[in-house]
C-alpha cells in the first residue's frame, strides 16, 4: 500500500514499463494487453488466469463459497429462459435475431465489441441487438435492463468458455477508438476524483464498504449479471452508468461513443479470457 509501490504498479498497469515509455508515441495494444495482464497475474499469484472472469469471487474465498452454493440455483435462470425464447421468436416481419448475426448469433459473444470499418466505429453486442430490432421494424429496448439483459444473457450463455478474441484491424480509426477508450478508463472525473482504474486496477480485492472490488482484467466476461442489490439483471451499460454515478460523476448516455470505446479497450485487454456470463453478484 506504500505510495511508491502504488505509483509503480499503476505505471506498469498503464503499460509505462521501460520499453513502453521508449515507444510511447506509438500506441501498442499488444504490449498494453500484455503489461495489463501481467500486472494482475503478478498482483494475485494465487488466482488462476481463467478465474479473473469471476470478478469479486476470484478475490475472496468466503464470497466464493457463498457463490458456489448459489450457483446450484442461479438467480439469472429466469432471464436466460426469457432470452432464449425472445431470441427464437420471429419479429413481425418474420425474420429473427439469428438473421442479423454471424453463425445465427450462437457462440459469438467473445467477438464483441468489434470495429466496423464501414462506419468507422465500435459496435457492441447491445448496440448490434438494438440495430437488428430497428432494421426489422421493431422498437429498440432500454440498454440497461430486462429485455436487453435477457438477450445478452442468452448470447453469453451459448458462448461460455469461448475466449475473448477482440480484434483491432489495421485502420487508424480503430487504433484511435482503442486509445480513447484507454484514456477514458484512466482519467479521473467527478467530485470524488476517481477513474475506473482507481477502483478496478489500484484496488481490486479491497473492500469498498462491504463490496469487494472486481479486477479490471476479465471485468466484462461475466456480463450481464444478476445483482441482489438491483433485484434483477443489469447489462454492461447499466454497470458502467452505475459506477459513474456512484463517484458523483455525470454518467454518459448508454452506448455513447465514449462508452463504446471504453468497452473496446477493456475487452481487448481481456483477450484470452473465457466468456463466463451471465453472472450473479451479491
Amino acid at each position: 500500500m506504500s505510495a511508491t509501490r502504488l505509483i509503480l504498479s499503476v505505471a506498469l498497469a498503464l503499460g509505462l514499463g521501460a520499453s513502453a515509455v521508449a515507444a510511447a508515441d506509438r500506441p501498442d495494444p499488444v504490449a498494453d494487453a500484455k503489461a495489463f495482464q501481467d500486472y494482475f497475474v503478478k498482483k494475485f499469484p494465487k488466482v488462476a488466469f481463467d478465474d479473473f472472469v469471476n470478478g469479486p469471487y476470484s478475490m475472496n474465498a468466503d464470497m466464493r463459497r457463498q457463490w458456489e452454493e448459489k450457483e446450484q440455483f442461479p438467480p439469472y435462470e429466469f432471464a436466460l429462459e426469457a432470452g432464449k425464447e425472445m431470441f427464437a421468436k420471429p419479429f413481425k416481419n418474420g425474420k429473427t435475431y439469428a438473421d442479423c448475426f454471424p453463425n445465427g448469433g450462437i457462440g459469438i459473444r467473445q467477438n464483441y465489441p468489434y470495429f466496423d470499418d464501414k462506419e468507422g466505429k465500435v459496435i457492441t453486442l447491445e448496440l448490434a441487438l438494438n440495430r437488428c430490432r430497428e432494421a426489422n421494424g421493431e422498437a429498440p429496448y432500454s440498454y440497461v435492463k430486462d429485455e436487453m439483459a435477457s438477450l445478452t444473457a442468452y448470447m453469453a450463455f451459448t458462448s461460455r468458455g469461448k475466449r475473448f478474441d477482440i480484434k483491432i484491424p489495421d485502420d487508424p480509426r480503430a487504433l484511435e477508438a482503442y486509445e480513447k477508450g484507454k484514456e477514458y478508463f484512466y482519467t479521473r472525473r467527478g467530485q470524488l476524483n476517481f477513474s475506473c482504474a482507481s477502483c478496478h486496477v489500484q484496488s481490486p480485492g479491497e473492500r469498498i464498504r462491504a463490496e469487494i472490488l472486481a479486477p479490471a482484467l476479465g471485468i466484462l466476461n461475466a456480463m450481464p449479471i444478476y445483482r441482489s442489490e438491483w433485484s434483477g439483471m443489469g447489462t454492461i451499460s447499466r454497470r458502467i452508468v452505475t459506477c459513474n454515478s456512484q463517484t458523483r460523476a455525470v454518467p454518459l448516455e448508454p452506448q455513447s461513443d465514449e462508452y463504446r470505446n471504453l468497452e473496446y479497450y477493456l475487452s481487448y485487454v481481456s483477450n484470452g479470457l473465457p466468456v463466463s456470463g451471465p453472472g450473479a453478484r451479491p
Partner: protein, 114 residues
C-alpha cells in the same frame, strides 16, 4: 520573503489550523459524525475507524494519527491527498468542495483523538 512565508503557511493549512484550534473540543464529536456520514466524509468506505461499522479496506486503518501528523498535515491530507501522492484514490475533500473548511477542521479534531 514575508509573502513567501505566508504563502507556505497557507499551503500548509496553518491558517485553518489556527482558527480551528478554538473549536477543538466540541469539534471531535461533530467530526466523528461527519466522518461516518455517507453523504459527507464517508471515510468508512475506505478506512477502518474505531467506532465505525462495515469499513472498507482501500486505505489504511486510521489509528495513532496524533503521534504521526500534526493538524496542518492532517488538514492537508483531507484537503487534497493528491499533493502528497498524485496517484492516491482518496478524494480531495477540500479542493473539490466535498467538505467545507469547518467540516474538515471538525474531522481533524476527531482524527486527533484516534
Amino acid at each position: 520573503m514575508i509573502t513567501s512565508v505566508l504563502r507556505t503557511a497557507l499551503a500548509l493549512g496553518l491558517s485553518l489550523a489556527m482558527s480551528a484550534a478554538a473549536h477543538a473540543q466540541s469539534g471531535a464529536a461533530e467530526g466523528q459524525k461527519l466522518a461516518f456520514d455517507r453523504g459527507k466524509g464517508n471515510c468508512l468506505t475506505c478506512h477502518e475507524i474505531k467506532g465505525g461499522d462495515l469499513p472498507g479496506s482501500i486505505g489504511p486503518k486510521l489509528e495513532n494519527l496524533k503521534g504521526r501528523y500534526d493538524r496542518a498535515e492532517l488538514t492537508a491530507i483531507l484537503n487534497d491527498e493528491t499533493t502528497r501522492n498524485p496517484l492516491t484514490v482518496m478524494p480531495p475533500f477540500g479542493r473539490n468542495r466535498i467538505l467545507t473548511e469547518q467540516e474538515i477542521s471538525a474531522i481533524v479534531d476527531f482524527l486527533q483523538t484516534l
